[in-house]
């Protein structure tokens, strides 16, 4: 069993420019296996852009992203997006949920196991002939899907279209789908957004379960401080594309830079109580952080 703090992902000097806009500037951090690493920051800080670079949707302007997998290291910035998922086993969810809405919940989870099933179906030839090996592989895939359906409380709705699920269930399904790819690193982009309090609590349980029982690294973008403070092992704070702080949730919570980033530039001003509460992890679920007025211009 690997040491829990061995880095699973190393991001070095990551910079992403869109024309004149520097969305991410010289960001370095590591994420450990079997740990939940949170990336936080105000709106537009560049969190999703970091994810898109890691998962190959953008190719970074500068920087190195290495995934230390069980079968060697992968230089993610050089790989095509689908290969990152297929070979380096990085799975992700999206800030705006991206399911296959007109396919059933179970089908969504089988699509996630596409590559394994494709091999078992002999690139479809054996499958067309109805070979026993393929039928066996498909049963296993359904069992695997069933496992995650049970974990995410979706087994009852397995046969209905994913697009008809309520919002919270769609969020869970997206996580289940990512887990069905048997990832080494799971990247979640604001999984708690739009969830109610109970759902948010269940999500915390689910993420802890994933970390502890499946021993994979989780990279988590989250606005909801109660989630971040409660479950993350390590926090990276971005603001205007730069990393302004990093450390344990405790340390980050008290960092003056972080407080300033969340509140605007006017120093010395008394903190509004709901923000202080939020930073301490007492805020209600779904509390979104807008930039302070001084920063929106």
């Amino acid at each position: 069993m690997p040491a829990p703090d061995r880095p699973l992902l190393t991001v070095e000097h990551l910079t992403m420019r869109f024309g004149g806009l520097v969305a991410v500037h010289d960001v370095s951090f590591t994420a450990a296996g079997r740990r939940i690493t949170a990336i936080i920051g105000p709106n537009g800080a560049g969190k999703t852009t970091v994810f898109n670079c890691i998962t190959g949707f953008y190719s970074p302007t500068v920087g190195r992203i290495v995934l230390h997998g069980g079968r060697g290291d992968f230089l993610l910035e050089r790989m095509e997006g689908y290969l990152i998922a297929q070979k380096a086993r990085v799975a992700r969810t999206f800030q705006n949920i991206r399911l296959f809405p007109r396919m059933s919940v179970l089908e969504n989870l089988l699509v996630a196991q596409h590559n394994a099933l494709m091999r078992a179906s002999g690139m479809s030839v054996l499958g067309l002939l109805g070979a026993a090996g393929f039928r066996h592989a498909e049963r296993e895939a359904v069992d695997h899907a069933r496992y995650w359906l049970d974990r995410t409380a979706l087994a009852d709705v397995a046969d209905i279209d994913a697009g008809t699920l309520p919002y919270g269930a769609q969020r869970r399904l997206e996580i289940a789908r990512a887990m069905c790819t048997r990832p080494a690193l799971l990247c979640l982009d604001e999984p708690a957004a739009g969830l109610n309090h109970a759902e948010s609590r269940d999500l915390n349980h689910l993420l802890r379960f994933i970390r502890d029982e499946h021993e994979i690294g989780v990279l988590l973008i989250e606005h909801d401080m109660s989630v971040v403070m409660e479950i993350s092992d390590h926090v990276v704070v971005l603001d205007y594309g730069r990393k302004i702080a990093e450390g344990s949730p405790e340390a980050v919570r008290h960092s003056p830079d972080v407080i300033r980033a969340y509140l605007g530039e006017e120093e010395g001003e008394a903190l509004p109580p709901e923000v202080t509460a939020d930073l301490k992890g007492e805020g209600g679920a779904g509390a979104a952080h807008e930039r302070g007025p001084a920063e929106t211009q």
């Binding site: 949707f57 799975a91 499958g127 087994a155 046969d159």
Partner: protein, 456 residues
């Protein structure tokens, strides 16, 4: 009645006389702008040598504008009455209004009923259609003309099923499908004429050629999406047709290729007096010679080809690659995040769709005995696409219904000459109004966790 009552608040009575007059005034202005240049002036000649003159026809313009104005008012008044009737029908449980309301509401409901119907019902419909298709040549009222019509409809059903893989399942809008149909037809014609191969030997070759073309054309363009892909495939369709016209030494240009061998029944030709040393189909079976025998044989060939296409599609939809096609149609970005290679997956859909078009093309060539580039114009692609879209993207049964409607029923309007296309267009508009997602937009999951009906 819920639909009608829900409708009423959107049309409050405030659109009174003033609004109607305003609306009619705008329509009249638009028609004035159109009528002035179109009706207002006419160039007339004064016979030899006396030149041209501009004739003004103000009376025409005035008539047109007044007609539009009055017509628009009448239309609005009628619509208001009509809505009122629907509303009454919705609220009051009886009376004439209710009956009209129900009748009007029934048309869109019919499709919904078909759609919501239990799979058992859909299977029954499919079975009945299959039985009719199998027995079609044996029906006493089916003459040569109806038999031919059956062959044409089945050809379009097969092409629709083939294109359904590309458009309905993989979501790739292909406007150049007829290109692969042409490749199949010319492959068969050239192979049969130059290498003396029979229909059944050529069939897989023609399919392979078409699939190969599908890969070659698809490789550079499948990174495009939606409208862009549609435009590029449209271009490819035209390129293939123009190559066929201009590559004279091989394709014989616009004159086409004639004398393409007819299919034989396991080596037995269909001929009244076969060449020396061969036995014709009717002689072998001791029948009277009839030209319908050959057509009936063609009918069963295309029926078999269509059924193969259908079975293949039904089967591959349940395989990982079929699910990946549908997933790509739903969300390509999510597919990439799950490790699916979008390019290869699209290419397989494109190539397999092209292969079935190639089969269809060989059949077309052997049925006609003559092919020319004219048979492979854009309108063919458009008709096949219309069948897929009107049938309900991805629905196999929908393709059959749409093909029967579009090809079979409009065929009966043939006597009406150009009005036939009018009926075609009217049918399309009607379907799009009532069933914007196609006749049968229903989709059953390809795999279930809980048996149907079982409460989870």
């Amino acid at each position: 009645m819920a639909a009608e009552t829900a409708d009423t608040p959107q049309h409050p009575p405030q659109d009174g006389i003033a609004a109607i007059l305003k609306d009619a005034g705008i329509a009249a202005l638009i028609s004035l702008a159109l009528a002035l240049p179109l009706f207002g002036f006419r160039i007339v000649g004064f016979g030899s040598g006396r030149g041209l003159a501009l004739e003004e026809r103000w009376d025409w313009v005035v008539t047109a504008v007044l007609a539009v104005f009055a017509g628009r008012i009448a239309l609005n008044l009628w619509l208001r009455r009509f809505r009122a009737v629907l509303a009454i029908g919705g609220r009051v449980g009886d009376g004439v209004g209710d009956k009209i309301g129900q009748a009007v509401a029934a048309a869109p409901r019919l499709g919904r009923i078909l759609q919501a119907a239990k799979p058992a019902f859909r299977i029954a419909v499919a079975g009945a259609l299959l039985a009719v298709a199998l027995a079609w040549p044996a029906f006493p009222f089916v003459d040569r003309y109806l038999l031919d019509l059956g062959v044409i409809v089945l050809t379009y059903v097969m092409l629709g099923w083939g294109l359904n893989i590309v458009v309905g399942l993989a979501g790739l809008l292909d406007l150049g499908y007829v290109a692969f149909y042409a490749v199949g037809a010319y492959s068969y014609a050239l192979l049969a004429l130059h290498f003396d191969l029979g229909f059944w030997e050529c069939l897989p070759l023609a399919g392979a050629f078409a699939a190969f073309f599908g890969i070659v054309l698809g490789f550079p363009v499948l990174r495009l999406r939606g409208d862009y892909l549609a435009i590029v495939t449209l271009g490819f369709g035209e390129i293939i047709r123009i190559i066929l016209i201009n590559w004279y030494p091989v394709t014989n240009g616009p004159n086409g290729i004639s004398g393409i061998p007819r299919p034989s029944f396991f080596g037995l030709p269909f001929a009244a007096d076969p060449p020396e040393g061969t036995v014709a189909f009717h002689q072998f079976f001791g029948l009277e010679y009839a030209s319908t025998q050959r057509i009936a044989f063609l009918y069963y060939v295309i029926l078999a080809l269509a059924l193969v296409t259908n079975l293949f599609t039904l089967r591959i939809r349940r395989l990982p690659v079929g699910r990946a096609w549908e997933a790509l149609r739903e969300d390509e970005i999510a597919c990439r995040s799950l490790g699916i290679n979008p390019r290869n997956t699209k290419l397989t859909a494109f190539a397999i769709g092209a292969m079935f078009a190639g089969f269809g093309g060989s059949f077309f060539a052997t049925r006609q005995g003559f092919i020319s580039p004219e048979s492979f114009s854009f309108i063919e692609s458009a008709i096949i696409l219309a069948i897929v879209v009107l049938g309900g993207m991805g629905s196999q049964l929908g393709v059959v219904l749409a093909a029967v409607l579009l090809i079979g029923v409009t065929e009966f309007f043939r006597e009406l000459e150009q009005f036939r296309m009018l009926a075609f267009g009217a049918g399309m508009v009607a379907i799009m109004v009532w069933r914007p997602r196609g006749l049968l937009a229903h989709r059953d999951p390809t795999i279930r966790l809980h048996a149907r009906g079982e409460k989870a």
